[in-house]
């Protein structure tokens, strides 16, 4: 096991600085690299003061929604009447995303340190790190790190527990995760009530993504102003972000750049461009749940929250999926729809039926039995799946379908009109 590439000069390695270095994994090795200094500092600060620094830094949630982290923490009751909880979202299952895994594999103490600081800020005595069931290696590494940190006495009075998932993408949705921790099926809950009022075990709870928390020690140590200054395009997007790049690039992997970095440079310079003889066709910049960009849009996209919205998509989790001219967009969109159909928790009709029908219609088209009217049917279905359900999994299935038909319509029509050989059997 080793880390695939050397750092690129255009990267800003903050979270990824020690990726590939097994010594940084150990408590001793981490302490040598300035580990737990920020936690020591936090212990001298009032909870509200910690929250203020994070607010000031402009840090936004890296789990997908981009919600301001300090603001989220400030929603927790100031006066403590009940136990408070922190849930750490390490369920990483959004197709295209594999950054949290890397943070846990290489710098488990960075996550523990950020978790401790957040727990102090929101006055939580117990924290659960929810790790997806398939992440056996990161789980073992986190377990070891937790044991070492406990032994070294850095946890203070706080308790951190690992909770292993068991195969369900939907448990990455924060309220589904809380149900899963409670020993229930991972069905998302209707909001409100919001987690800060009624979270896990009915108590005030904050949920944060692994990457979000791993950034916190850096902010505390080097200051909000320093973090905020890392921004290439829009001042509302600050700091660095890990982009997981996969699919048709020469050097897939995690790349850490300053917010606002051009997607074009990420793909063509850092990732080594396309394979020989191939050209870029499409790119999904924020994990499979966000709209697909065509080549032109990709080449002009700046990687921050606003830059992605400007191109009609979202930064999401930072999972960048790259398709070159060899990709069959109809087949790949079907494959994504199938993912959502498989992962729907089936509570909402629009989602349960919509994801299944979307998949079926796309399969029919790929089997050479589609009708032109199917494209309108898909768009109509997608419309009914958007903004109408308990969580946004349903919307996530619609996003690649709607953007795909809009931008690659002729590929669908080629199957329907018989200009392209069927690739599936009905």
């Amino acid at each position: 096991m080793g880390y695939p590439h050397k750092p690129h000069a255009k990267e800003t390695a903050l979270l990824s600085k020690h990726f590939g270095d097994p010594d940084a994994r150990t408590y001793k090795g981490w302490a040598k690299r300035g580990g737990y200094e920020a936690w020591k500092q936090a212990q001298t600060m009032a909870p509200a003061a910690i929250t203020d620094v994070v607010k000031e830094s402009g840090l936004r949630g890296r789990g997908g929604a981009g919600f301001p982290t300090g603001l989220k923490w400030s929603f927790m009751p100031k006066e403590k009447k009940k136990p408070h909880y922190l849930c750490v979202n390490a369920d990483e299952s959004e197709p295209g995303t594999f950054k949290d895994r890397e943070i846990m594999r290489w710098t488990p103490h960075a996550l523990l340190e950020g978790t401790l600081i957040a727990m102090r800020a929101i006055q939580a005595e117990v924290g659960y790190i929810y790790i997806r069931g398939e992440f056996t290696e990161p789980y073992a590494i986190m377990e070891q790190a937790l044991a070492e940190a406990t032994k070294a006495g850095v946890l203070g009075g706080h308790k951190i527990h690992l909770h292993r998932g068991a195969g369900a993408y939907i448990c990455g949705e924060e309220t589904a995760m809380m149900n899963s921790i409670e020993g229930k099926r991972g069905n998302p809950r209707i909001k409100p009530p919001f987690p800060a009022a009624f979270g896990v075990f009915g108590m005030p709870t904050t949920i944060n993504n692994v990457e979000t928390l791993a950034a916190v020690p850096h902010i505390l140590r080097q200051g909000a102003a320093w973090y905020k200054a890392m921004s290439l395009s829009n001042p509302k997007s600050t700091g660095t972000k890990l982009f997981s790049v996969c699919g048709h690039v020469r050097l897939p992997g995690n790349y850490e750049v300053t917010m606002g970095f051009p997607l074009k440079d990420l793909l063509h310079e850092l990732c080594g461009g396309m394979r020989p003889g191939r050209t870029l066709k499409a790119c999904i910049p924020g994990g499979s749940s966000v709209p697909i960009l065509n080549r032109e849009e990709s080449e002009g996209c700046l990687l921050d929250y606003e830059g992605c919205v400007e191109k009609g998509t979202m930064l999401g989790s930072g999972g960048v999926i790259v398709f070159d001219d060899s990709a069959d967009m109809v087949y790949q969109i079907m494959r994504l729809a199938r993912f959502y159909a498989h992962e729907s928790c089936a509570q909402c009709t629009q989602c349960r039926e919509g994801t299944a029908w979307t998949t079926k219609i796309l399969e029919r088209i790929l089997a050479g039995q589609g009708k032109m009217a199917d494209l309108d049917l898909l768009l109509d279905l997608s419309d009914n799946m958007t903004g109408k359900t308990i969580c946004v999994l349903s919307d996530s299935c619609a996003a690649p379908v709607v953007s795909g038909i809009k931008k690659f319509r002729t590929e669908f029509e080629d199957y329907i009109a018989g200009r392209k050989q069927p690739v599936m059997v009905a």
Partner: protein, 166 residues
């Protein structure tokens, strides 16, 4: 009582396994919250989770068998039937798909003798299934063999992988 019902049942939660469960219970404010970890313990001990195991888990945690079953069936990683000695999960979601995951599946089915997805090879050694994104898309194609996460598997690497676990 029928013959089936009088058959001896060897409980999972005894000795060390019971101790581990008791330690897990201290982590949560409710007993119910220990359900997922308890099911993992059962699967670790028995390889899969039978209806009778679910009854036992329910008894230990104060939950009804139907409730336990409702949870077991929600999560895809809990096996409700025995699987091959080597359980292989291959990601075929879009990012891996465009990097050749389907060829990896074909090679695995051929070399393990499992032949069909979800079926167990005649020697009881192999079960191969397709799964959705394993969270390692930059290392296409990731394959989970039992608890071992293997990255960057190609059809060419499959024979060596199969040999390793034989």
């Amino acid at each position: 009582m029928s013959a089936v019902e009088t058959q001896e049942y060897a409980p999972v939660f005894t000795g060390k396994t019971l101790e581990r469960l008791q330690e897990i219970l201290t982590r949560y404010p409710t007993k119910q919250a220990a359900l997922l970890p308890a099911l993992w313990l059962v699967q670790g001990e028995r390889g899969w989770i039978s209806d009778r195991n679910m009854v036992e888990v329910g008894e230990v945690l104060g939950l009804t068998p139907a409730y336990v079953k409702g949870v077991v069936t929600f999560y895809t990683m809990y096996h409700q039937h025995p699987v091959g000695a080597n359980f292989v999960q291959v990601c075929t979601t879009s990012p891996c798909n465009i990097c050749g995951a389907e060829d990896v599946v074909k090679a695995l089915l051929a070399h393990t003798g499992a032949k069909e997805l979800g079926a167990t090879s005649p020697d009881g050694q192999w079960t191969v299934i397709e799964v959705e994104c394993l969270g390692a898309c930059g290392f296409a194609t990731p394959v989970l063999v039992n608890d071992d996460f293997v990255e960057s598997v190609t059809p060419e690497r499959v024979p060596e992988l199969v040999r390793k676990y034989k």
